[in-house]
């Protein structure tokens, strides 16, 4: 696992520092003990992070699970059998993929396009625009759903995938534009200038030169966007009326019954299944990124 900055060659180290490097090498041996301590502390922190996950794993295999953690007696796949059906899991998961996947793609496309002029040109509107965008990232979306519903009824987008995807994409645009613009700032303009002299248009330069260098960063934006949308319940719940269209984040309520009684074992099993896509997406992308996210230039400000 190495953390890579965006695939841009690091600046050559100043020659003045070469001596320091040699001097430091002599003290490496004393680092061995230090390394052991570091690894121990890291594992200790990881252990603390694992503890809360115990319940979901144990309860998922325990048909009579409650909220208290107990060893399953016996271990069974009954909870999974109970939730693995079209109505509860398959269709909502598929809907979730369509909604969140579609919205993520639109978000990324719009962000890349928007980031290019923001990163490459000067304008007196740029700063207010960026600050407004930043400000919008803190907007509580729940609070605006009532007018959004009214608007969707007026323009006949209610209960359509298209409308819901567009709205979901819009809610994640601010933070996405912000991160993308900062990633783009990290790509030196000299490379593009070479392309311009060869007669490429800015958009061609963006596609051929800038994007290939940015794509680790863009995977980060993609996964960040996807995770947020995947967990969002209120937006699809309000904008989609037909039960057949609802995504997985809404079907979690299947596990709460009339008087608030929760079937915890099934809830845990469903939680495991529901969390998998986000985990898998991370694993796939992080492997391609050489093991870790590259947040490189995105948050330099």
């Amino acid at each position: 696992m190495t953390t890579e900055s965006p695939a841009v060659p690091a600046p050559p180290a100043a020659p003045a520092l070469a001596g320091a490097r040699r001097a430091a090498r002599g003290r490496r041996s004393s680092h061995v003990v230090g390394k052991g301590v570091v690894n121990l502390v890291l594992l200790l922190i990881a252990a603390c992070f694992v503890v809360p996950l115990l319940w979901v794993v144990l309860a998922a295999f325990d048909e009579s699970a409650g909220l208290s953690v107990s060893w399953p007696q016996p271990w069974s796949l009954g909870n999974f059998e109970a939730v693995l059906n079209t109505d509860t899991t398959y269709r909502p998961m598929l809907n979730g993929f369509i909604l969140c996947g579609g919205a993520t793609i639109i978000t990324i496309a719009a962000s890349v396009l928007a980031a290019y002029p923001l990163s490459r040109y000067q304008s007196r509107y740029k700063r207010p625009f960026m600050l407004t965008i930043l400000f919008t990232t803190g907007l509580p979306i729940t609070a605006i759903m009532v007018p959004v519903y009214g608007m969707f009824v007026q323009v006949d987008l209610i209960d359509t995938y298209l409308g819901t995807i567009l709205f979901m994409a819009t809610t994640s645009l601010p933070i996405s534009i912000w991160l993308t613009k900062n990633f783009m700032d990290a790509v030196p303009i000299e490379l593009e200038e070479a392309a311009w002299t060869d007669g490429a248009s800015p958009m061609q330069a963006l596609r051929r030169i800038v994007l290939p260098l940015m794509w680790p960063g863009m995977s980060v934006v993609a996964i960040y966007t996807f995770i947020h949308l995947w967990g969002n319940f209120f937006v699809p719940f309000i904008l989609l009326l037909s039960n057949d269209n609802l995504p997985a984040s809404v079907s979690i309520f299947t596990f709460f019954s009339q008087y608030g009684q929760v079937v915890y074992g099934q809830l845990a099993a469903y939680s495991v299944i529901y969390s998998l896509p986000a985990l898998l997406l991370y694993l796939v992308l992080s492997r391609r990124l050489g093991g870790a996210f590259a947040f490189g230039g995105a948050v330099k400000g």
Binding site: M1, T2, S5, A10, A13, R21, A23, A24, R27, H31, N39, L42, L43, V50, V51, P52, L53, W55, V56, L67, S68, V69, L113, A114, P117, R120, Y121, Q122, K126, R127, M130, L131, F135, G138, L139, I141, A143, I144, V146, P147, G150, M151, L166, A169, L173, P174, N182, D185, V187, G231, F233, S249, S271, Y274, A278, A294, F295, V299, K300, G301
Partner: protein, 305 residues
């Protein structure tokens, strides 16, 4: 791309005459259209709604009531408490918790063993990608009365805790640290990977101890990332809803009812849309105040252009 390049114009930017500027701004159109159509109008509507007594049910109609919703808020003890809790939650879980723990993890990762690094980041990021509702249930199961934490404490002879009852805001803050640390860790890992090793080594040669090296060499070199990350996680944390709602529903006695919770209850449980919306606007303002403080303190504004 090193952190050493400071100041504006990193991309070699330049100003252009108006028609050219318009052409150049064209790629912004899709984003601007989406934001304008789907976000700007609802926000404007909400600003108007905050000055009415709009309700989702009960006596209908939406009459203009001026600043009544705001005066009602500012004179209500519940509101004061919820603003206080929102700030506590944000400071504890984002500014202190996620930020410091993320930095500590990123620093340790630099000299950790490859396998250890892989395991630790997988686990920490695993907590981050879990859906909010699921995270809430995990923590309820952990901290609850018969939860696993008390079983563990009991096993080593310690008295049981009941933070969900005695210190709910602390409980939800810890859960939020658990959930959000990954983001800061990733940001700081990336930032630290760009700090040239030689500079730190040079400091060692000059006789600086590890602490001194950290505070006078390493951290100043990544201060930009710190500032930006703080701003992002602050804004994200201010509007956390699902996690708290699942764990405590804002209780007991509203002791964990941060503003998003309080606004939701008013708008959707008591159907008082006007008041709920006014509360949401206050939340936005708090976010604005935090942002301004960061921008001022760190002069970030100039680098964002």
């Amino acid at each position: 791309m090193s952190t050493l390049t400071v100041g504006p114009g990193r991309g070699g930017t330049r100003r252009a005459p108006a028609p050219v500027a318009l052409m150049r701004g064209l790629p912004l159109a899709p984003a601007v259209f989406l934001l304008g159509a789907f976000l700007a109008w609802p926000v404007v509507y909400c600003v108007w709604a905050a000055f009415t007594d709009m309700a989702l049910t009960g006596a209908s109609g939406a009459d203009f009531v001026g600043f009544e919703n705001f005066t009602r808020a500012f004179t209500s003890a519940e509101f004061h408490q919820s603003v206080f809790l929102t700030v506590v939650f944000t400071v504890l879980s984002a500014i202190i918790g996620q930020n410091v723990l993320g930095m500590v993890l990123a620093l340790l990762m630099r000299s950790g063993h490859r396998v250890v690094r892989a395991v630790v980041s997988a686990i920490v990021i695993g907590a981050w990608v879990l859906p909010e509702v699921v995270a809430g249930y995990l923590w309820m199961a952990l901290l609850g009365d018969g939860g696993s934490l008390n079983e563990m404490l009991g096993a080593v002879g310690l008295p049981p805790q009941n933070w969900l009852y005695t210190a709910p805001i602390l409980a939800v803050s810890i859960a939020n640290v658990w959930r959000g640390t990954a983001f800061s860790m990733l940001v700081y890992s990336a930032a630290l990977s760009e700090v040239p090793k030689e500079i730190e080594e040079a400091a060692t040669v000059d006789g600086a101890g590890p602490a001194r090296r950290l505070f006078s060499v390493t951290l100043p070199m990544v201060r930009r990332s710190i500032a930006t990350n703080l701003m992002l996680i602050t804004l994200q944390t201010l509007s956390v809803f699902g996690l708290i709602w699942t764990m405590t529903r804002g209780g007991p006695s509203n002791q964990s009812a941060t503003l998003p919770i309080y606004a939701y209850v008013q708008a959707f449980q008591f159907s008082d849309l006007g008041y709920g919306t006014a509360l949401a606007l206050v939340l936005l303002l708090i976010g604005g105040v935090f942002s301004l403080i960061y921008l001022r303190a760190l002069r970030l504004g100039e680098s964002m252009t």
